[in-house]
């Protein structure tokens, strides 16, 4: 079976779909143009490499860098959206990398729903982290590592859930985001050394 159009792969023409996009993070150069890099603390960087988009923090403790839509196009519904992403942390220790939805950028954990992969002290693991005016995390029980992981995060009115590498691993009902969101990725170093990770794929749509 084939579809009549790209649109119809995901929606029939009788349905007005919401915003949807696919970003492959392929090709040469810098950040794909729909994205904006925010160096929340320190001077980070991002560039294309053999794996996808390489994103790096500055070299100061807690330096962190976020990739998002620049707060210009928060087209995604906090109670009706999904995103699929593939991320990997390259730095083994004292670092976290996030991928998912967030309404803005900065040193806060407000209005977000992130797949959070961290290696630091007792925080080692892969989490579903959500935030409204305050934030909390659910440990998936999956060990953190330096491999690629594919997450799918679904935002609904009653919960946020996350599949990791195809398996449902976390459902949260507290601190759910309530404001319009954009796709976002974040990396933070816990030490005075730059940390880096890879973003390979991102797809997001309103449900």
């Amino acid at each position: 079976m084939t579809y009549g159009s790209f649109y119809e792969i995901t929606n029939p023409l009788t349905t007005v779909t919401g915003t949807r996009f696919v970003e492959w993070f392929g090709g040469q150069g810098q950040i794909p143009d729909r994205w904006k890099r925010h160096d929340v603390a320190g001077s980070g960087n991002a560039w294309a490499d053999q794996w996808g988009l390489h994103i790096e923090t500055g070299s100061g403790s807690s330096n962190n860098t976020q990739l998002d839509f620049g707060n210009d196009a928060r087209h995604f519904n906090p109670v009706g959206a999904k995103t699929i992403g593939i991320i990997r942390k390259i730095t083994a220790e004292n670092v976290f990398i996030d991928g998912g939805f967030k309404d803005g950028y900065g040193d806060d954990n407000n209005q977000m729903s992130f797949c959070h992969i961290e290696e630091y002290s007792s925080l080692d693991g892969i989490y579903l982290m959500t935030g409204a005016s305050s934030s909390s995390s659910t440990n998936t029980g999956v060990a953190e590592d330096e491999h690629f992981h594919q997450y799918e995060i679904e935002l609904t009115a009653s919960n946020n859930n996350m599949k990791l590498d195809g398996t449902l691993v976390a459902t949260k009902t507290d601190n759910l985001p309530t404001t319009k969101t954009q796709p976002a990725f974040k990396i933070l170093t816990r030490t005075s050394a730059a940390a880096s990770g890879i973003i390979q794929y991102c797809e997001a749509w309103n449900t």
Binding site: M1, T2, Y3, G4, S5, F6, Y7, I9, P12, L13, T14, T15, V16, T17, G18, T19, R20, F21, V22, P32, D33, R34, W35, K36, D68, F69, G70, N71, D72, A73, R74, H75, F76, N77, K180, N206
Partner: protein, 221 residues
């Protein structure tokens, strides 16, 4: 039933068929002037204030200045066939009442949709004048024009609409929400065309005449 395939294109056609010109523009992302929407695919022409709308399902909002036409087009790179092509657009139109506005979108050989295209260019498009006509399909080969209403509903309601147009050997077909609305067999396009989306503030009003485009897909069939 969902079935996985090895590639995206195989969801649209088998690899035994030659892949023809196709593009998809999703109108989301940051609003810098250098972003791909206005660099690689589109040119925005006309006096306007436009940009990404920071709302859920916002898309790209085009607001012409009073009395102005604004068109998003591919700068006369016309890669789509006049009798074997299709487009799908998701869009909403706003304002234009009590003053006149017009929203037109689809394929055009020139850099505007209004009337019969100059220079013997063609068009196959949807159009709606906010106070006069019903939502219509429209065709031209540069010497005449045919406008046929899809139905009696109003396009200017601020809601998103999904619209599909097809150019064929002996007709152009226009559908709304998956339902065929009209078939035009006269004044059919006869030359190559490009994707385009135009908003006209005809009445020079300050009533917020604008169009929001959320999705544009075009391909040769």
């Amino acid at each position: 039933m969902t079935s996985s395939k090895e590639s995206v294109i195989e969801h649209l056609q088998p690899l035994t068929t030659t892949i023809k010109q196709r593009f998809v523009s999703d109108f989301t992302g940051n609003d810098d002037t250098f972003r791909d929407i206005l660099t690689y695919h589109w040119t925005l022409n006309g006096t306007n204030t436009s940009g990404m709308l920071d709302e859920i399902n916002g898309g790209y909002e085009i607001t012409p200045a009073a009395g102005q036409n604004v068109i998003l087009y591919t700068n006369n790179i016309r890669q789509f066939n006049y009798n074997a092509s299709a487009f799908i657009v998701s869009t909403s139109a706003h304002g234009g009442n009590p003053n006149r506005a017009e929203c037109s979108f689809g394929f055009s050989g020139s850099n505007e949709f209004s009337g019969i295209p100059v220079g013997s260019e063609s068009k196959a498009c949807f159009e709606q004048d906010s106070i006069y006509n019903y939502f219509s399909g429209c065709t031209s080969q540069g010497t005449g024009e045919t406008i046929t209403a899809l139905g009696t509903f109003t396009f200017y309601d601020g809601n998103l609409h999904i619209c599909k147009g097809e150019t064929k050997a002996s007709s152009c077909e226009f559908s709304h929400a998956g339902i065929l609305g009209c078939v035009i067999t006269s004044n059919l396009p006869d030359s190559k065309m490009q994707p385009a989306y135009e908003v006209r503030n005809i009445g020079a009003g300050t009533d917020g005449a604008k169009g929001r485009i959320q999705y544009f897909e075009a391909w040769n069939t």
